[in-house]
């Protein structure tokens, strides 16, 4: 492995970590709302969150590219802020990845919140816990398996993305060239040994992640 490979590896891990942290931050309130609301908008919002599951990454990437471009709303906004345009930058990649991996984080957390049911929250209220207190001291700890699944899936899914990176980030060394893109480069250049190193690494990484997911996340304990 040369330094280009290591840089791509480092960039990939950095991207996945930042995206996972952001997704936990953004995904948790969305998951809570989806799990608890009786609003008529629940279906629509749930469907929008789930869109990346079914759309080809290129479609998502295409529209994000337009939105972040000089004529898109997001692009105008970022230019107005004075930070320039996002496509082909690392921050652009982060934003695209957040959209792309959103359902992988929201859905496990939402399921976990739903599995808690109404009762523990009512019990907490009868024990003087305010809704905010209840959320942190009861709902989040009880939904821990969901957070774990969401974080692992979000991280792994971001590591594995390819199409959207090409659409938004291109292939700029040290900036947007992540492992999946680099493997493609290696293969195109007939550098099979390098491609093997990285691809094999991805296979092992994915296996370890899923193993961890299934090992440390046993069936939820029955409520006492």
């Amino acid at each position: 492995m040369d330094s280009a490979d290591l840089n791509a590896l480092w960039l990939t891990l950095k991207l996945a970590s930042i995206v996972t942290a952001l997704l936990l931050l953004i995904g948790t309130p969305i998951a809570w709302w989806l799990a608890r609301t009786q609003s008529a908008w629940k279906g629509a919002v749930g469907a929008i969150v789930a869109l990346p599951l079914v759309l080809p990454p290129t479609v998502l990437g295409f529209y994000l590219l337009l939105a972040m471009g000089p004529h898109g709303p997001l692009g105008r906004f970022t230019e107005w802020l004075g930070i320039g345009l996002l496509p082909f930058t690392f921050p652009g990649l982060v934003i695209a990845s957040v959209f792309y991996s959103l359902p992988f984080v929201v859905q496990p957390i939402q399921n976990a919140f739903e599995a808690i049911g109404e009762r523990p929250l009512e019990v907490a209220a009868t024990l003087r816990a305010s809704p905010w207190d209840t959320f942190w001291s009861v709902a989040v700890p009880l939904a821990r398996p969901g957070f774990l699944s969401g974080a692992i899936l979000g991280f792994a899914h971001t590591v594995g993305e390819f199409g959207i990176v090409l659409m938004i980030g291109g292939n700029i060394p040290d900036k947007t060239r992540v492992v999946s893109v680099l493997i493609y480069d290696h293969v195109e250049a007939m550098e099979y040994p390098q491609a093997h190193w990285l691809s094999g690494g991805m296979v092992i990484f994915s296996f370890v992640v899923l193993l961890a997911l299934y090992t440390f996340n046993p069936a939820r304990r029955r409520e006492g």
Binding site: V123, A125, A129, L142, G224
Partner: protein
Amino acid sequence: MSSDIRARFRVERQRFTLDIDLALPGAGVTALFGPSGSGKTTCLRAIAGLERAAGGYLAIGENVWQDATRGHFLPTHRRPIGYVFQEASLFSHLSVRANMEFGQKRAAPAVPRFSLPEIAEMLAISGLLDRHPEQLSGGERQRVAIARALLGAPQILLMDEPLAALDLKRKLEILPYLERLRGELSLPIIYVSHAPDEVARLADHLVLLDAGKVVASGSLNSVLARIDLPAVFADDAGVVIATRIAAHEAHQLTRLEFPGGAIFVSRHQQPPGTPIRCRIHARDVSLALHPPQHSSILNSVAAQVVDLAPTATPGHLLIKLDVAGTPLLARITQRSAENLGIRPGLALHAQIKAVALLA
């Protein structure tokens, strides 16, 4: 009395509409009793603020928790209540001790009347504090839930069929603790139940609910002794009298005294002075115009007929009696009633064939 509880709720449900207006005593155990779907649990939830009743009013003593006319509604987490659900509902991510401390911490600066070790001792869960909820039996879990509710320094304890999810053995395991709580806590308890034996053992005040309406509300005995209502406990019309062990006597007998008389029961283990509740079924009481002299029935008390009413059993009447202030019910045949000339005001003798000791 300023510590009384006033509750007025109207809650629309698919199956029924809860529409109640209650004045309850601010002490002792009040049982909300009725068939399932009668609105007992909804009523309890409305008191806790878990159910938002439109147009409701609720005051515990001088504290108004809900008053729709002023748009006032105290959310559940700001009401000083203890709530015991049907299933123990312990937090599965916390140890028994942490479960118990959950409410205690949040009740501060209010301090529970008993410390955690004292309550753990009272409910015999001291040895379980470091365990996790899933390591406990159903009965143990429910005792922890009761302890947890008490440690929140409640001003009122609400219990929603706390024994219904338990089998008979566990039930019998917990009932004595509940009786102890009734004795040791000067805390009003509202107890939802559809089990006659629990109500007979625990309640001081009884509210009968049916299809969301209050059918009767009063002291346990005044409600049980009402003959104008369909028998409260289905076929088992009867009263519950509060007695005290007066003495252990010869022939393996114990004498129980109550205002109005005394009855003999088989030798009881508890020392004299111990209060004991007895349930006397109407079917176990027969009537005689003269003091029975040649009878194997041990217990006979002088009584006066208050009223009579037909029962669900054809050809039988329910007679309400007054034994120097203590009500008693007798079920006799219509024919006997005519033969004896039973009418309100008649003085006679009630023979009690059997007494069920509660506890």
